[in-house]
Subunit: 328 residues, 2 copies
Amino acid sequence: MGLTIYDIAREAGVSASTVSRVLNSRPGIKKSTRERVERILKESNFSVSEAARGLVNQTSKMIGILVSDIRNQHHIEGAYMIEQHFMRKGYCSLILNAGDTDESKAEYIRILSSRRVNAAVLIGSSFQNEPVRQAIIDYMPDTPIIFQNGEFSLPNVSSVVSDEVVGIYDAAKYLYEQGRRNIAYINNNDTPSNRKKILGYEKASRELCFPRILYVCSDSAESGAEITEKLITEHPEVDAIIYAVDLIAVGGSRKLLDLGKRIPEDIAVIGTDNSPFSMISNPRLSTVDTKLQELSTSCSEILEKAIENPSYTEHVIISPSLVLRETT
Amino acid sequence: MGLTIYDIAREAGVSASTVSRVLNSRPGIKKSTRERVERILKESNFSVSEAARGLVNQTSKMIGILVSDIRNQHHIEGAYMIEQHFMRKGYCSLILNAGDTDESKAEYIRILSSRRVNAAVLIGSSFQNEPVRQAIIDYMPDTPIIFQNGEFSLPNVSSVVSDEVVGIYDAAKYLYEQGRRNIAYINNNDTPSNRKKILGYEKASRELCFPRILYVCSDSAESGAEITEKLITEHPEVDAIIYAVDLIAVGGSRKLLDLGKRIPEDIAVIGTDNSPFSMISNPRLSTVDTKLQELSTSCSEILEKAIENPSYTEHVIISPSLVLRETT
DNA sequence: CTGAAAGCGCTTACAG
DNA sequence: CTGAAAGCGCTTACAG
């Protein structure tokens, strides 16, 4: 291929300006001319270069979506909604794996800037760090940015966050009200979001006067199983466990069962995120629903407004709710 | 921002050509000039427009990745590997949800063409249909394309497929060898890939002379549970079930347990894909590993060669293997 | 070692 | 209703 509007113009016996006008459905073109050009456009399977068009229109018609790892089911929902919604308006989404480190994440801000995206979306609290903040100031000070589950007080950055402090606090309180008195909390990765969860757990422990039993594991069902065994060995009195994410709760539950514990009779279990894992696990997991769907919807609505009006900004907080299933 | 190389040139007291040369690390520039320009570039946080650069270099430095739905865990692995790998080489990935219909998928080929991507990747057998094939012929006849789990006999399309006929055949044969004589198969969506699985099941049924018991459900654990109940009611003699995907196998297993069946004593269960679900389910699911990782690696290797040499083409077939866990 | 000019594929005033 | 020209932000021969 490689046809340009000049090729089409020659074929149709008109100028490139005219071809451009029919391409953009501009008024004031003789019907017969328009139809002839349209026919030739169709016949030659012409497709206009969005890059060239963007250069003159000063827009890329692209949205940058940064996720630390797109394989993480938990983060992809927002990316999905945004891609879907804005494709209909002619925007393509650059969905990029921004990596684990603060520096690589900051580097991706620079990459988005060189692609001149019309807006950027950061998904996940792990973007909340100084290098990213500085990169935004340096490279994207005017581009509308939406931060899902984190915030920067920068004039061009909107935020949509889940109130995880309350989410975990409520879970602990519920367990307490059910008569549990030795409620443990198992964290995984150290992220701003997980730090908020710990805060919620500590607040509950303080207010309700139950002992603080806090363990940390990494991000897999196996790791959840291991740490749970350790917890149970060191604290046989535990009668309820809250996990920072569903996946480790599933691994943990399985281990509890293998150790001969009954769920929820001996030990109640609550996960976090209301993920697919929580629904298909056996027993089905009670979980703190961080309202991922709502967060994502909200993100996409804000983005919509920000694209129209680049100085638009909004800050939303969404409260989690407890979903009770078979482990409580 | 909105700085151009002319702004930098003026600031540095040189021409735009010189700025461009230092930007591209071209040799033959006085050291002092280069350093001055570099300093100003840095100080002003300049970031070059990839679109403008691409226009003159006749490259977008973008790769288009089409998936019917990025929330489908099963498809995202390949997208991840490609994004990661080619980002290091300066390519950005347009990961797009191409939708459910043949027409919308074909439409996305056109979209990629207008973005002038350097290569395209189709992930999932559902892209194997005539509208997509025609769109490739019309709009991307020269762009290297890699098809993961499907194929088109077109000069610019490579393919990497999993031999699902063999995968399911082997699963059925294994069950038969274990003494099972009433082996059912439960399919979900009607895709080219699933049709191959049915072929494998039918081949086993024919060769090993066991009765063909085939049911179809939709794509959720609940649906898998429902159809399993129906199956067991209508065919109480069934002593083994193979499912087209792990998720419905998980739903099915759970239902079997609820109905008082023992797994695998009364009924053996095998899923497909060796997905995370199969590992965390309880009991842990035996499954046909379709080697998603290998498929993805292979895709990304072919893409690498195709980017170097746009006429490079390759066709790979990968054999699945059986992973035995607790349900057989 | 450096700059002026042309050109990548478009769009949009400006003229007619 | 239509076309010639300028310009979007770059790069790359070509001269010097």
